[in-house]
Homo-oligomer: 481 residues x 2
């Protein structure tokens, strides 16, 4: 199904009409709408997981977990709305004695207006119709129009119908959540005058094209894209000496998790040359199972990605996983050396979707740092070291390359909390904001300051009675009720 | 003087080397650097004001005040750095019992890296070399390379030299602040790989061109532009009945302040038809003095802007101010009606730099609202009403059109405080952030989250000992020490 221009206009008009109602709804009401959406998804979990498994082949266990993550996100944002810090309420009282005299100023954040959300193939729930972008945009007080991913159209339609119905039953206005389908509709969506911001999770090429459309509008809008990440891992010789086997096992489990289709998959692993780590990895990798990828197109593209890497003269195959059935991807571990990575980063450090990882041997700290500096911006950077290791230089590079720096863990698995950051320098994301965790709401808010407003004309949250119950700053001092 | 590509590379390399030192400097150190810059500007005020007056013709009184505003901004950002909320420190403790088990996450904001600042013609101090963009970028922990405005090159060079010397004397690294000159150097600056964000204050055409360069980079960077604003004012019949004379006097003072060259100049004023307000305005405007504009080019362009408006058949001249000397601009009040504005917003609502304002007569609330909805995004929106007026619909439009909504005041005059917002929907600004006030710092920060980090490897501010002294959120609860 493809959404026509006329259909999009109708949906956009409804979203525009719903926007002031979402913005104006008080915290309890908006939180109740988010929870109603979560409850409805939970109530339909059997039906939704069955459709999702048919369309994405991700398996029931993973998909049930992902529904829980998705409804958990909606409920987290309900608490974020209730907690109220996201308003950034700030008051400076008038100071007639200042030069020049200072008026009273009251600042808050408010919804930007209708938001476009482009859903991802690899998280049919958590980064799709009712996923994190949608949850944070709604929480911010904005209606959402979702561009369905072509990889799971039936699930998208059913999810949108369930959520829209739940929102309506809870009293939210018509136009709160809508779905469009087809690439042309997506392009039109991000350029539609009603749309004030866009969230995207997907490929670098697709995201870049939409970013260019959003930026090229007569009135450019913010485009928050999560576009690709190789998620570098650095392992020191001391870490291998202390726990090489566990590291090898952990790596294999992480890069094959979800058939290597997580955006935080460890794609490039810097390991000391001659420490025997390749052999340890091979020991676990040969027993690792692959599986079908999300779509036939993605499955068909997987060998081409491997061949592209293997074509580099420095690359050799360390191990292959269990033989895959037709239409499935077989895990692969490749290796190269740090000098090759530093010389040809465009070839060797391109993100490769699916169960493959590249071990990069380094023989000195200099070699490691030179190659690590060639790594593009990433969502995560991981360090496995021991307490006596000198890691300041490596950490300094990882912290500039990645939005989340991990120690002694693996990057797959992204907790949805207040302190999470899922973002990083280009091409990991396009922005200074996260797409996972409580602060994702900031992407869809704009400030407005009221100067010398009569109390009766102030938005409710900026009146003194509300300030007494909400976190706010007054005359420079942060106050928590 | 024009900066060559080789010179820019040298400056960028120095900025890149200075970046980790600025980021890593503790709050007391970074605050001391900002205060050293402010002190040095204050110490050189006589010399700087003399150069500025020669180059911008803004007059000694205004320019002395602007130096005070500029050093006040630098000192405000020193307190912002010391207060520490800007870090957005957020910790979620590990929860091994969660499904899946939750790691410890510690989030902070950190400097994005070297920032480009494009300075404005109309604020040779406060929005120029050491102005608000520079102050907030330095406060965030980033070196700055300023593109000097061609309207005040000598002042730019001297300001940069004084600030750079003061920073060096205070112990800041080489490369903390540099200056480039010439349009080509500016274009190269915003595209330079070292630059991670840009701030701009200026024209819509110039800003749009730089925005497109920033967005078109292989690695797009955020571009924070303040590009133009007509700053609508709405006056109700009851307000005119209650205080028409004071309103007329206030309007004339505001639109002629600084010879009409403030970005918050009230450019379009909606007034009830037949209420006699045009006559009241004429009474004050005929005695209003104009003056030379910032540059000969700007002065020469002023009559063309007026003629463009006057060419519309609906427009008539309400009043002219005192005759201007050669090379100076004479204040002008024009009028039209709401129907014409609604029909031809591109012509009638274009920003016109200099001492001119357009009165727009409305005969009904419908006429007013229809015309008001045609107003482009603005920095400010002002309402003059009386307590019994029904203004909800007007306020709803103003709040969507403008970043700052004023009551019973005039938009010229922008207090530099925690709660200020200087921004608005396109073309007022390109972003969801302010360029004036404490929260301007957020533009030049990026989040980074540390997962399960050994305390010894955490940045100092994220360790428990620091958290005890700084505002932070832990397990969802906001805490103020």
């Amino acid at each position: 199904m493809t959404t026509t221009t006329a259909e999009l206009d109708t949906l956009a008009t409804a979203a525009a009409a719903a926007a002031p109602i979402w913005r104006g709804a008080d915290a309890a009401t908006r939180a109740s709408w988010l929870r109603a959406a979560a409850d409805a998804l939970d109530a339909h979990i059997d039906e939704l997981v069955a459709i999702a498994d048919e369309e994405t082949r991700l398996g029931e266990t993973r998909l049930r977990g992902e529904v829980g993550r998705t409804t958990g996100q909606l409920r987290l944002f309900a608490t974020v709305v209730e907690e109220g810090s996201y308003f950034e309420l700030t008051v400076d009282d008038a100071d007639p004695s200042a030069t020049p005299p200072r008026p009273e100023l009251r600042r808050m954040l408010t919804g930007v207006g209708p938001v476009a959300v482009f859903s991802a193939s690899n998280f049919p729930f958590a980064f799709s119709v009712a996923g994190g972008d949608t949850a944070s945009a709604l929480a911010a007080g904005n209606p959402v129009i979702v561009k369905a991913h072509s990889g799971h159209p039936l699930l998208s339609e059913r999810t949108a119908a369930i959520v829209a119905e739940a929102l309506a039953a809870a009293g939210a206005p018509e136009g709160s959540l809508a779905l469009v389908e087809g690439r042309e509709a997506g392009n039109a969506l991000v350029q539609h005058p009603v749309i004030q911001a866009a969230g995207f999770t997907g490929s670098l090429s697709g995201g870049r094209a939409l970013f260019d459309l959003a930026s090229g509008r007569p009135d450019p809008i913010p485009f928050y894209g999560e576009l690709g990440s190789v998620n570098p891992v650095v392992i020191t010789p001391a870490a291998i000496a202390a726990r090489g086997e566990a590291l090898a096992q952990g790596l294999v489990a992480s890069f094959t998790l979800g058939v290597g289709q997580f955006c935080t998959k460890p794609g490039v692993v810097f390991v000391p040359a001659g420490a025997g780590f390749e052999e340890l990895v091979a020991g676990f990798a040969t027993g690792a199972a692959g599986g079908p990828l999300l779509t036939d197109r993605i499955t068909a593209a997987f060998p081409a990605g491997i061949e592209h890497l293997e074509a580099d003269p420095s690359v050799s195959v360390v191990a292959q996983g269990l033989p895959a059935e037709a239409g499935a991807a077989q895990p692969v571990v490749l290796s190269t050396d740090a000098a090759a990575v530093a010389a040809r980063p465009e070839t060797l450090l391109e993100e490769c979707f699916g169960p493959v990882t590249l071990l990069v041997r380094y023989s000195s700290d200099d070699e490691l740092l030179t190659a690590l500096r060639a790594v593009p911006g990433s969502l995560t950077g991981t360090l496995h070291s021991e307490p006596d290791d000198e890691v300041a230089d490596v950490l300094a590079v990882l912290e500039r390359k990645a939005g989340r720096v991990l120690f002694a863990g693996w990057p797959t698995g992204v907790a949805v909390t207040w302190s999470q950051h899922h973002g990083g320098p280009w091409p990991a994301t396009t922005s200074l904001h996260t797409s996972v965790g409580a602060t994702a709401i900031r992407r869809f808010l704009r400030p407005v300051t009221f100067q010398d407003a009569p109390e009766a004309l102030l938005p409710d949250v900026l009146r003194d009675a509300s300030l007494a119950t909400l976190p706010h700053r007054r005359n420079g001092a942060l106050r928590v009720p």
